[in-house]
Symmetry: C2
Subunit: 413 residues, 2 copies
């Protein structure tokens, strides 16, 4: 038995206990963990400082360092996030439907925990805390496998969480931490079907591809966002400038940031110079041939349309129609978030219906696809798959169902 299998076995055993814990006891455990994170802030920040220093000296892009770095406010945000999860309704043992068959068999469709959830994630240490809180509240144990870049930060956070749980009614073994930089452990996790009921990969294309190829554990793919904004001919250009600026620059390292802007050819000559004036000094522009006939920009090649930059880079393409925009998105999008800026009613409706993505907006920034913004509290990520959950993955998505039938001797005719 490998070390990972032993961890899986411990989590599976703990999940049998956790699945029938009461809401009050789970909330008490969450609060105890939050208190301990607060009490250990200095140690957590020190560990994070080492991670950040190592990342910078390793040449990590600043937009990614921003995802890794913690400070007092971000730790306060984590603690507030746990508090928000405490306040959310327990998603377990709720009935979405109940009815009685003609023969008297009373059937209820009840929510139950999944069991043990594995999560493989990138640099952001707040994911450690969010994932723990959401899993515990939904009655699931969690196996955490963060990025090597955040190993010290995550180790300090998990130590705080487990110390908090030791003071609570819930055993610390509901949380498992893969404390290793060995990447082969990710592949091993993907095959841990005996112990894991779900794996949530959060990360870039190569992680997702490895998951599609190798995983035998059911998965929930999250986090790949090659998001577009289509600026239609009828768009309010002042609003469009503010929206593109926000979607690209407010936090470029996030999956709901905009990577490519598609501009209708009828307004390109007017809009593109304004866009360059607005964001060109803070952001590298890469344009198609028609874009570069209007503004100075680096040449965008095929790879640019496919790339989730997660950086201060924006690709720009001039298109001749709504249909061309929809086709471009169908070809290059990752079914995360797509937005149309338009004052044309029919174009808005057609975009909403025809674009296949977790979230589709009219006249709004792509940055809104987020469990916090939607009011779901913390999230496990943004699902870009169609099965089980699509969009922000919150508490309601971390359960399965069980049909319960109360009978009195019923047999089938």
């Amino acid at each position: 038995m490998t070390e990972l299998e032993r961890l899986g076995e411990r989590l599976k055993a703990a999940s049998r206990i956790l699945s029938s814990e009461t809401t009050a006891r789970k909330n008490a455990a969450l609060s105890a963990a939050a208190d301990e994170i607060g009490a250990r802030e200095a140690a957590i920040l020190a560990a994070n400082g080492e991670d950040v220093a190592a990342a910078r000296s390793g040449g990590m892009k600043e937009s990614l360092v921003d995802r890794l770095a913690l400070n007092h406010d971000r730790i306060a945000g984590m603690i507030a996030g746990i508090g928000a999860v405490v306040e959310l309704p327990d998603p377990v043992w709720r009935s979405s439907a109940a009815w009685t068959l003609e023969n008297g068999l009373a059937v209820s469709k009840m929510t139950v925990p999944l069991g043990v959830i594995g999560i493989v994630y990138e640099s952001r240490p707040n994911v450690t805390v969010d994932a723990f809180a959401l899993a515990l509240k939904s009655g699931n144990c969690i196996m955490l496998r963060g990025s090597s870049n955040a190993l010290r930060s995550n180790r300090a956070l998990v130590a705080a969480i487990r110390a908090g749980l030791e003071k609570s009614p819930i055993p610390a073994d509901v949380v498992g931490f893969v404390d290793s930089e060995d990447r082969s452990l990710v592949t091993e996790m993907l095959g841990l079907r005996r112990y894991l009921d779900l794996i949530i990969p959060r990360g870039g294309r190569s992680l997702i591809e490895s998951v599609v190829r190798d995983a035998t554990v059911p998965t929930l793919e999250t986090g790949t966002g090659n998001c577009h904004i289509f600026v239609d001919a009828s768009a309010d250009q002042e609003k469009a400038l503010a929206i593109v600026e926000n979607a690209k620059l407010q936090r470029p390292g996030t999956c709901n940031a905009c990577e490519t802007v598609l501009v209708h050819s009828r307004i390109a000559a007017e809009f593109l110079p304004k866009l360059q004036a607005r964001i060109g000094s803070r952001c590298e522009l890469r344009g198609c041939e028609r874009t570069r006939a209007i503004i100075q920009a680096r040449e965008a090649v095929e790879e640019d349309w496919e790339t989730e930059y997660l950086d201060y880079i924006l690709a720009i393409k001039v298109v001749d129609s709504l249909d061309e925009a929809i086709d471009h998105i169908a070809r290059y999008g990752t079914m995360h978030t797509e937005s149309i800026l338009t004052e044309d009613y029919s174009n808005a409706q057609r975009f909403i219906r025809s674009v296949d993505a977790a979230a589709v907006y009219v006249n709004a920034s792509t940055r809104f696809t987020d469990g916090g913004e939607y009011g779901f509290g913390a999230e496990m990520g943004i699902s870009t798959q169609k099965l089980h959950a699509r969009g922000p993955v919150g508490l309601a998505e971390l359960v399965t169902v069980k049909y319960v039938g109360y009978g009195s001797g019923q047999i089938r005719d």
Copy 2:
């Protein structure tokens, strides 16, 4: 491009049209297909007669021939099944939640079709019709891959469906039929990620194992039911006899039939002879050592506890406690349907909470886990996985969601 890829491409193209068809037009298409199945009954029965004759001469078990064979009543049942789907509410573009953010962005969570669904299924030809009807009503195209044993029956049914669609507002290309006995095409389907949004394997353990290993298309595993009944010490024994008889013998070839009965040791000496008298002449009994000390039965070996017989065979084990029954089910069950027969309130509650399965019953036959019995209309199968759908897969399970945000220039703070 292979023939299967060409079929996938045609279905994907058709799905873009089908996904925004109106309910009225989809219902008209369903009714046209039902009419044509009725008009072609003689041809369908002739084709099925050839399949049945070939199956019998190939030595197929009678319980499986029963799944394959059609007659007038079963064709009438298929037509009625389509009619029932016509009557069901359209599951597409319904909102499960809608709210407005503080900044005015109005968000709705809307249901949308998955796209193209593939189904790989065993001998029952009625699955062809149920799958077509559920897919069309939910706005999805379908790629049908039935058993070689039912090839002639399915070919005749699909011909009728397509001929019906030709007379309707919906193109016949929403239905694709893999008209081949070549088993390698199933493996190819499992990797057809570019064209298929979901594959539903219906069948035995070897199909499911191949799906877990090879599929890159998301899957919904259905149809493996190693179901148990636990006869507790306090059970009403007359009801228990009727329930076990029903669960084992009413239609042994179905996935919700009972395969193993667990009997509490305190009543075994009394109950087992009654059970043998009730069903022993119609059903082979295979018992553990303690069972065989009470009644005559063939020896049950490890393999018996693991086997979904789908036949006139019942395994019997004497257990000393509810916990032993729960442990046996956790070890050998397939998370389909499990039933406890008891008059003890606490044991009933503990069984319901502790047994991890799609459906758990108290004092009722396992045969009730069925979309028709539950009132969902036809079903795609019974999901035994935890993600996306668990239990009967009806219309409501054949959609995904899209968050739609109507804005007026919102940007994120």
